[in-house]
Amino acid sequence: MLQVLVNSLALGSAYALLALGFVLILNAVNAVNFAQGDLVMAGGFVAVAFGMLLPVPGIVLLPLVLVVMALIGRALAAVAYFPLKSRPPVSVFISTIAVGIILQNLANALFGAEPRAAPPLFAGGLVELGGIVVSRQALAIIAVAAVMIAAQYVLFQRTALGRRLRATAQDREMAEALGIRVNHVIAATFAIAAAYAGAAGLLLANTFFVTPTDGGNYILKAYIAVVIGGWGSVPGAVVGALLIALFEVMLPSLPLIVPGLAGLPGASWLFSQTIATILLYLMLLVVLVVRPQGLFGEAVQRRA
């Protein structure tokens, strides 16, 4: 049982990194980056490529992956955001879809379609913790994600760059008037967002593998997490991501937790992962209709 919890927490913390990147771009430029899921996939493949060159644990590869992905994020801003920055946000939505198509097919052409596994963060295998057996990788994912989320917090709250990032997110014109070079800050935001997505890719690509078509699934998770957590709220996105993972893993596990449920007619149908996905979307619709500001309130004032 606790093992299931650890698994869902590991999945959720990787989703959280992804959603964090999504919400940073959202706040900086008020546009949805639909390539965010494909950036996770790209991060996974970058990790796989480094893993083939250097036989070292994933934690050593992490800085390399972050740097490469930050460059990719900078390039994403250059081709898909800056040319369209004076257009309505929907233009960026579509240009990032095009970038997603390019990334996905580039990965397919370079690496082939077979699933790949990146090196584990420290070492594979299992570890016994107070009587329960959990995978080392799952614990490592949770730890690394927690450190990265904390780093993001420190970067944004305690550094000059962070102040500029926040100022730009709050009011771009005002930031410009204060002498902040907004374009640099936006480029940095894309770089950070892509680096976080890449980290998620590295973390996921060991336990859960990576294939070129993974992006579509991840972007939906990030999008839902950000809406559930409250549009534009950074802590909300993290919590939303954890909730999604918890729901995905916990609902199908209910018959294990409450043994009586397994005997109900249609239990295997009701507690399947497909039904869990359907319920996730229905819950999302309910949240949108009943509480459009998200569960934790809306941080960004949308422009009318």
Binding site: V32, V79, A80, P83, L84, R87, P89, V90, S91, F93, I94, S95, I97, A98, V99, I101, I102, Q104, N105, L106, N108, A109, G216, L220, Y223, I224, V227, W231, T274, T277, I278, Y281, L282, L284, L285, L288, V289, P292, R302, A304
Partner: protein, 588 residues
């Protein structure tokens, strides 16, 4: 078509149509014909998507799902129950429309990215349900053996007959779309997209308009889905998957979001593009993605929009002026407007805190007060854009509480905006004409049944010219509003408000940004309006402008009325001076 060729204004359009007809004649292998047929199906799908995405400006991600639903209806009824086209086709349209109507109530009021995600969620649920409902849908395997188009025992072979059949539907769909969006009704879409608030305040029921665009999109998608299955003869969940939605979105953006030619250009181009890149083998989708990105970045208004920009059309000739028909007078009851104990708060801030005031018929009242004193909020509550927590607004004796802004506007309460809210792409004439939509009976049926150019649009434009001339515009009224100077735009907005033939006009800082001569001109015209019997409430900081005009001044401070009297009395009131000075003191 002949007419457009004759007047020569649509040369590129005629050339495009010619190219379109020539295409399948030149490239006519069965393969070419099939791809061109598919292009027609996507053109129909995109034409439908333009309603909700282009005209209503809402990023709906359900178009692929409606397409798939239409496809499944035809697939299931055709393959399992042997039904012909006359049964399957109408049902393939009806079911998506029904689904759209059901989901519209909760999702249509959501904004931008919320709406996008909600619609995406609906599409995903539909896909998963289709995968699970194996007995009905065949699950992931889908349903093979769907018959071709069969009408009254006649079956339509593939190749040219199917191509012509599909493109006949495209032409019919384009015609209907042109009728709906090309007339006065269509101008209402444009205003709604540019500013939902402004559209409501000229009496347009935007909720209804949005719903209609959504239903139209679903209908076109269902039709396209049905034709798709007849072409492919198989229906499978791929028809419901997100890549269909991505393709439609890309076609709409690449072609042009609101142009019928754009739908056709986008569909024909993007259906063929991957086929042309096939020689690149496993790299061809990368090339497709790069080409797509390049088109979005280089022609953000779409290829047709880009063409229109390069070859600007000759300005249309101005219509002759025509006075507005007399409007039935309101029963004269005093006061015209009565506001009592109105309260409105935002979070912890009391923006309007117990305001009571009354306007007599024929009065010009100035509403003054420091920034943030609640003036605009008060106007927004009176016009129904905001709902008050407490208090009542009565207009000509009738309570306005709970009424929608468009209803209030149609009753004769018009307003202008502090930040001009015009459609930049439309001419001044059309910006004013659109405000006649609610009165000239511009509606769906009327738009569809009109022969030739929409007569209501023609009449509304003649009336618009009349109004614009009264407010002092000349030839420049035929230019797009985006090109006009600030002062002229202010006057266009007033003319638009006058198109509602209001009894009461609320002007929000009308003199802001005007030169002194423009201010003098405006003051003169305001007096003429008063002489015509229009009561006015003018929010203004510019005292030299307001003082000679106003019969009375009301001063607000922190949401309360602190003074109410003749201009001289109010100007001398110590509380007013303190409110302004105190404010200044804070700023210093």
């Amino acid at each position: 078509m002949i007419a457009t060729l004759q007047n020569g204004r649509h040369g590129p359009l005629a050339l495009g149509a010619l190219l379109l007809v020539a295409w399948p004649l030149v490239f006519s292998t069965p393969y070419d014909l099939r791809v061109f047929t598919l292009a027609g199906i996507y053109a129909l799908l995109v034409l439908g998507y333009q309603f909700v995405f282009g005209h209503a400006g809402a990023l709906a991600l359900t178009q692929g799902a409606f397409f798939g639903l239409g496809a499944y209806v035809t697939g299931i009824l055709g393959a399992r129950y042997g039904q012909g086209f006359l049964v399957t086709f109408p049902l393939s349209i009806a079911l998506p429309v029904l689904l759209a109507a059901v989901v519209a109530a909760p999702v249509l009021r959501l904004e931008t990215h919320y709406f996008a995600l909600a619609t995406l969620g609906i599409a995903q649920v539909l896909l998963l349900v289709c995968l699970l409902a194996e007995p009905l849908t065949g699950g992931a395997n889908g349903i093979p053996g769907v018959p071709g188009v069969e009408i009254l025992g006649l079956s339509l072979p593939r190749g040219w007959p199917l191509l012509l059949f599909v493109w006949a539907w495209v032409i019919a769909g384009a015609f209907v779309a042109q009728r709906i969006t090309g007339g006065l009704y269509g101008k209402a879409f444009q205003l709604m997209r540019a500013s939902a608030t402004a559209a409501q305040c000229v009496g347009i029921d935007i909720a209804r308009l949005r719903l209609r665009t959504f239903l139209f999109s679903a209908a076109y998608a269902g039709a396209a889905g049905a034709l798709f299955v007849h072409t492919l003869r198989v229906v499978s969940p791929e028809a419901l998957e997100f890549h269909v939605m991505v393709a439609v979105l890309a076609m709409t953006v690449v072609g042009g979001r609101t142009r019928i030619a754009g739908a056709i250009v986008g569909a024909v181009l993007l259906v063929h593009l991957p086929e042309w890149f096939r020689f690149l083998e496993s790299y061809y989708l990368i090339a497709y993605g790069v080409a797509l990105l390049a088109m979005i970045v280089l022609a953000p208004d779409g290829l047709v929009g880009e063409l229109e920009r390069r070859w600007p059309q000759a300005p249309e000739t101005l219509p002759t002026a025509e006075p507005l028909p007399p409007r039935s007078k309101l029963i004269p009851r005093e006061p015209l407007l009565a506001v009592s104990d109105l309260r409105k708060r935002f979070g912890g801030v009391r923006a309007v805190d117990g305001v009571s005031l009354a306007l007599k018929r024929g009065e010009i009242v100035g509403l003054i007060g420091p920034n943030g004193s609640g003036k605009t909020t008060l106007i927004n509550v009176i016009t129904g854009l905001l709902q008050a927590e407490n208090g009542a607004v009565r207009f000509a004796g009738e309570p306005l509480g709970g009424l929608r802004p468009d209803t209030i506007a149609r009753r004769g309460l018009a307003r202008t905006f502090q930040n001009l809210d015009l459609v930049d792409e439309l001419t001044a004439i059309d910006n004013v004409a659109v405000a006649r939509a609610a009165f000239e009976g511009a509606g769906l049926r009327q738009a569809l049944l009109a022969v030739g150019r929409d007569p209501t649009l023609e009449r509304a434009r003649r009336q618009a010219r009349f109004l614009l001339e009264r407010i002092g515009l000349g030839e420049e009224m035929g230019r797009p509003c985006g090109d006009l100077p600030h002062g002229t735009r202010r006057r266009v907005e007033i003319a638009r408000a006058l198109a509602l033939q209001p009894s009461l006009l609320l002007l929000d800082e009308p003199a802001a940004g005007l030169s002194e001569s423009e201010q003098a001109d405006l003051a003169r015209r305001v007096e003429i309006l008063r002489d015509d019997g229009i009561t006015m409430l003018i929010v203004e900081h510019n005292m030299p402008f307001l003082m000679p005009l106003a019969d009375r001044l009301i001063c607000l401070n922190v949401g309360r009325v602190i003074a109410n009297g003749t201009p001289e009395e109010v100007q001398a009131d110590p509380r007013v001076i303190e409110a302004y000075l105190g404010r200044r003191g804070e700023q210093a």
